[in-house]
Subunit: 336 residues, 4 copies
C-alpha cells in the first residue's frame, strides 16, 4: 500500500466538513479524493475548498471507485448501518460517526458486514482522542491509580439541538450519553454491567413533548466492581462542560474543561476567568483530527482500529439499558 | 439572659475536645462551665486544659446544675437520643453531634422531647458551616444559579475507621453519607424524594465481613425535580476529599478541597501542589467553631437553630432509604 | 522556668490587639499578664476582653514588674528603639514590631542593648510565618530548587494608609517594602548586596506631596549571585496582593494569595472566584499567632529567636539603600 | 488583487518550516509558491512536503519572480536587513523574523527601504498573537485595568541555544529579551523610556566565556509613568516559562503558561499537573499561524501590518539600552 490513504467523505454537513478539513490539511497520511452529499452543493463547496476532484451527490460513486481506499461516513444516523454494509461489500475501510444505529439488529448487521469483508471499522468516539481524557485513561492503564473504584463523568451541552433533531436522535441516552458510556468503558478499562438511569425535563418542556428528557443522572456498575455516575444536561449556560474523574485505590485523576485563554482578571468584583470552550467543535477540534489520523494510521500499518465496532455496540447497549432503566424505574443489566 | 451562654460539654472524646476548645477560646458568647465524660480522666484533662471548674464523670450532674444553660452532646451515638430527652426535660438547650439515633423511633422521641420542653436542638452537621459549601448554598439561595438541576457530592475519607466502630456505626449510609444527605438538602434547598444506592467492598474485605460497604454511589431525586449523585469512599489515598457542585439553569457553583498551602512547585517531573487537608479535624476546624458559635447565638437571640432536629431526621430517613435501596436493589422513596 | 511565658503587651492599637488575642487564646505557652497603652482606655478595653489583671497607661509599670518575663512592643515606630533599650535593661525578652527604627544609629543601639542584656529580641516579620511563603523557604532550604537564580515578590496593599501616617512612616521603602526586603533574604537564603529602586506617584498625588511614592519596582542583587525584583503598590483595587516566586536551577516555587473560599461560579459571563483576602489582618491571621508562638517557644526552650534584631537591621539597610537609589537614580550597595 | 497572497519563503530552517506549514495549510489567504534556502536540500524538502513548485537555493529567484507578492524571511539575523532592502526594491511585501538587525544603522536602512517602496513590513513578534497575552493586551486597551501601573514579564527558556549561536545572537538582551521589550510595549500601550539591567552567568560558564549572560532582571520605566520588570533565564528545568502580568488602577490581568493537558493526578505524594509546553514551537504554534494570517490579511485588505518595522526598531533600542545599562551599571534612557 502507498504511504497515504485515499479517502472519500460521505456526508458534508457540520461534522463532515470538520473531517474534510482534517483529511485535506491535518492528516499527512490521508488524501481526500472525493466528497459526496445528497445536497450536491454541499459536496461541491467542500470539494472546492480543499481542491478535491470529485463531488458526487450519490455516495455510491465513491464506493465503486477503485481509487478510494476508505470512507468517512458523516451522514444522518439512520443511514449509517446501510452505508457500512455497502462500503464493506465494496472493500472500503470505514470510519463512521457514532452511533452505528439506534437498534441492535442494524448495528450487528453492520458489524458482521465489516467483519466478513475484513475491512477496518472505526467509530467516531472522538472524546477518546481528547488529550485531557486520554491522560486519565493512560494513568488508569499504567496503574497509576491502582484499581479503579469510582468514575464520574460530567457531560453537558451549551444548548439543546432542534426539536426535529431530538425526535429522531434516539433521545438523550442514545444521542448524548452514548459518548459518556463509551468514555466510562474507555476510562475504567471495564465493561458496564448495570445502569440505573433517572432523568427529567428541566430545560425545555418541548423536549418532554418530543418524548425525550433533557437532564439525567446515571449510576453505573462495572464488571470490575467499580461504580460510576454520569451527569447530563442539554443546557449549561456557561458552555460545553466535559469533565471526568477516575478515582482508584492509588489516587485520582481529574480532567477538566479547556478554555480559550488562561488569562485571569482580578478587579473590584472578584477574580474572573474564561468560560469553557463553547461546544464540541471547539473543545474537540484536536480530537477530531487525531481520530482521523489514527484511522488512517491503522490502515497504513494494518493495525486494529483504536475504536471498534464493538465499542460502538457496547455503548449502544448501555444506552438502550439506560432507557429501559429510566422507563421501568429500576436498575437494568446491560446486554452483551 | 446574660450575654453569654453557660455550656456543659457531655463527652470529651475526639470531637468533644474540639468543641471544648471552641467553647473555651473561640466562641465569645460561650462560657464552658463543665465537662463530663464516663472516663473521668478525660473530663478532668479537658477541664484542666481550659480552666473549667467542674468535671464530673456523670453528665447528670451537668443536667441538674441550674447554672448550665445548654449542653453540647458528644457521646457515642447510641446515647444521643436518651441524653437529648433528659437534657430537654432539664430545660437545657442542646447541641448534639450527628446522628441523633440510628432509627426513627428514638429520633422522633428525642425531637418530641425537645419540642415539648421548648429548648433549642441543633444537630452537628458541621459541613454547613464550611465557607466553601456555604458559598455554594448562598449562591443557590440568592438565585445566582437559577433553578438547581443537578447536585454532585464527593465525600471520601482518607481511611476507614476501626472495624469495631464500623460495626456499631450504622454503616456507610448512616455514618458517613448522612452528612452528604444533609449537604444535598442544604445545597439544593429541596427535600430528597427518592434514592437509588449501589455500593461495594473495594477497600477492605474486613468491612464487608462486618456487614458494611466501603464504596458507594447514590443517585438522588429531589422534590424540586432536581437530580443528584453522591460518591463515597472510605479510603482516598491522597486525603479527605470533600467537594460539591450545584448546577442550575443560570450557572454552576463548584467547591473544592482546602490545602495546607497554595504553594506550587515546578520541577523536571511536573507541577506539584499540596494534597487536601488530611481529615475532618483539619478541613472543618473553622466549621466546628462556627457551628458552636451559631448555636450560642441562636440561644442568645432566641432564634431558631440553623440546623434543626428535623434536619437530623431528614438525613436519617435518606440514609435508611439508601440502605433499603442497596439491599433491595431498587430505587426507594425517602420517608417523611 | 515555668512552662509558660508571662507576657506584657505594650501598645494596644490595631496590631497590639491582634497580639493580645493570640497571647490570650492562641498561644498555649503564653500568659498575657498586662496590657499598657498611652491611651489608658485602649489598654483597659483589651485587658477587659481577655481577663488581664493589669492595664497601666505607662509601660514602665510592666517593665518594672518582676512577674513579667517578656514584652511584646506594638507602639509607634519612633518609640521602638527606646522601649527595646529599656526592656533589655529590665531583663525582659522582647518581641518588637518592625521596624526597630527608621535609622541605623537607633537600631544599632537597640540591638546592642538586647545583646548586652542577654535577652531574646524577635522582630515582627510576620510573613515568615505564612504557610505559603514558609513552604517556598523550605523548598529552597531543602535544595528542592537547586541554586536560587531569581526571586520575584509582589506586595501590594488594598489601599494607602492615612497621609499623616505616611509622613512619619519612613516612606514606601521603609514602611512597606521593608517586609519584602526581609522576605527576599528569607526566601533566597542570601544577603542583598545591591538594590536599584525606581518608583512613582500613580495612586494619589497627596502621597507625592507628602514626600513619598506609592508605586515602585526594585531590582535586587544577592550575595549568592541571584537576582530579584520587588513590585509594590499602595493600592490594588482587588485587595491585598502578596505573592512570591523563587526560581532556581532545579525548579521554581510559587506562592499565591489566599481567598475566603475556593468556590467557583460559572455563569453566562464567565468563571468567577473570590478576590484575595482583604488585607494583612485577614491574610496573616495565622502568621501573627505563629510568630508570637515561636517567640514564646524560643524563650521556653532558650533557643535563638527565629527572626532576630540583625534581620531587622538588614531589612532596614536594604530600605535605606533603596531610598538612596531612588533619589540618586543609580544602583546602591546595601550596607552591612 | 486576488483573494490570496502568493508567498515566497526565504529560509527553510526551524522557524521557516513552521511558517511553510502555516502558509501551506493554515492560512486560507496564502499560497506558498516558492521556498528557498542556501542549503538547497532544505528548500527542496519543504517544497516537496507542501507541493510547492519552486525551490531555489538563491532567494533572488523569488525576488525577481513577478508571480510572488510577498516574502517571509527566516534566514539568519545578519542577512535580514539586506534581504528586506532587496525585497522592498523588488516590490514585495515582507514578513521578517525578529530582529531586523543587531544595530540601528542597518535597521533604519531596512525600514527606510520598505517605506520608500511602499511595501508592508511586518516583524515576527509572534507572542503578540498568543491568545493569553492578547487577552491581557485587550483588557488594557479596553480600559478594564484602568491606567497601567506595573508590568511583570517572566520569560525563561527550557535550555540555552548552542554556544556558536549565542556568539552571533546579540546576546540575551537582543536575542531573547527583545521579545519581552516588545511585549512590554504591546501590553502597556506605552513606550519604554528607561531601562536598568542587571544579570549574571548562573546557568553555564561557557555562556559567560562567550561574552553573554544567561540570567537577567530588567527594571523598566514607561513614558506613561508605569513601571515594569522582566525576568529572564536561559534554563528553566521545567520548560518554557512565559507569563505576564499588567497591574493597573482598576485591576490586574495575569496570563500563564499553557500545558499539554489540564489533567490533575492526586496521589499519596501530592497533587500533580503537567509542566508547561516545552518550548516556543509548542507554546506558540497557534501564534505562528496567526501572525502569518494577519500578515496576509493586511496585504489583502491593504491595512497597516499589526507589527511594524518601528516596533522592531523600538525593541532593538530597548535591547541596546539594556546592554549599555548592564555594562555601565546604571539606568539608561532608551533611544527613539
Amino acid at each position: 500500500m502507498a504511504d497515504f490513504v485515499r479517502v472519500g467523505l460521505i456526508g458534508a454537513g457540520r461534522i463532515g466538513r470538520v473531517h474534510a478539513e482534517s483529511l485535506a490539511r491535518r492528516v499527512p497520511g490521508a488524501r481526500l479524493v472525493a466528497v459526496s452529499d445528497i445536497r450536491r452543493e454541499a459536496a461541491l463547496e467542500a470539494a472546492d475548498l480543499h481542491g478535491v476532484p470529485q463531488a458526487p451527490a450519490d455516495y455510491h460513486a465513491i464506493l465503486s471507485d477503485p481509487a478510494v481506499d476508505a470512507v468517512v461516513v458523516c451522514t444522518s444516523t439512520d443511514t449509517h448501518a446501510r452505508i457500512i454494509e455497502e462500503a464493506a461489500a465494496a472493500g472500503k475501510h470505514i470510519f463512521c460517526e457514532k452511533p452505528i444505529a439506534l437498534d441492535l439488529a442494524n448495528t450487528d448487521r453492520a458489524l458482521a458486514a465489516a467483519d466478513r469483508a475484513g475491512v477496518k471499522l472505526q467509530i467516531g468516539f472522538n472524546r477518546r482522542f481528547d488529550a485531557n481524557f486520554r491522560r486519565v485513561h493512560d494513568l488508569v492503564a499504567e496503574g497509576k491509580l491502582g484499581m479503579p473504584h469510582l468514575v464520574h463523568i460530567v457531560s453537558r451541552d451549551p444548548g439543546p439541538p432542534p426539536i426535529e433533531y431530538i425526535r429522531v436522535s434516539g433521545g438523550l441516552f442514545l444521542d448524548m450519553a452514548v459518548h459518556d458510556f463509551d468514555m466510562a468503558r474507555y476510562l475504567s478499562g471495564s465493561e458496564i454491567d448495570e445502569v440505573y438511569a433517572t432523568g427529567g425535563v428541566l430545560v425545555d418542556p418541548a423536549i418532554g413533548a418530543a418524548g425525550d428528557i433533557d437532564t439525567a443522572v446515571v449510576a453505573l456498575r462495572f464488571a470490575s466492581g467499580a461504580l460510576g455516575t454520569i451527569d447530563n444536561s442539554r443546557r449549561a449556560i456557561y458552555g460545553y462542560d466535559q469533565r471526568v474523574e477516575v478515582f482508584g485505590s492509588a489516587g485520582s485523576a481529574i480532567a477538566g474543561n479547556n478554555t480559550p485563554t488562561n488569562t485571569v482578571l482580578l478587579d473590584a468584583a472578584g477574580t474572573h476567568a474564561d468560560k469553557p470552550l463553547h461546544f464540541f467543535l471547539e473543545r474537540y477540534a484536536e480530537a477530531y483530527a487525531a481520530e482521523v489520523r489514527a484511522f488512517c494510521d491503522c490502515i497504513l500499518q494494518d493495525a486494529p482500529p483504536p475504536v471498534t465496532g464493538l465499542d460502538g455496540r457496547a455503548a449502544l447497549l448501555a444506552g438502550l439499558a439506560a432507557w429501559q432503566s429510566y422507563r421501568e424505574h429500576r436498575p437494568v443489566a446491560v446486554g452483551r
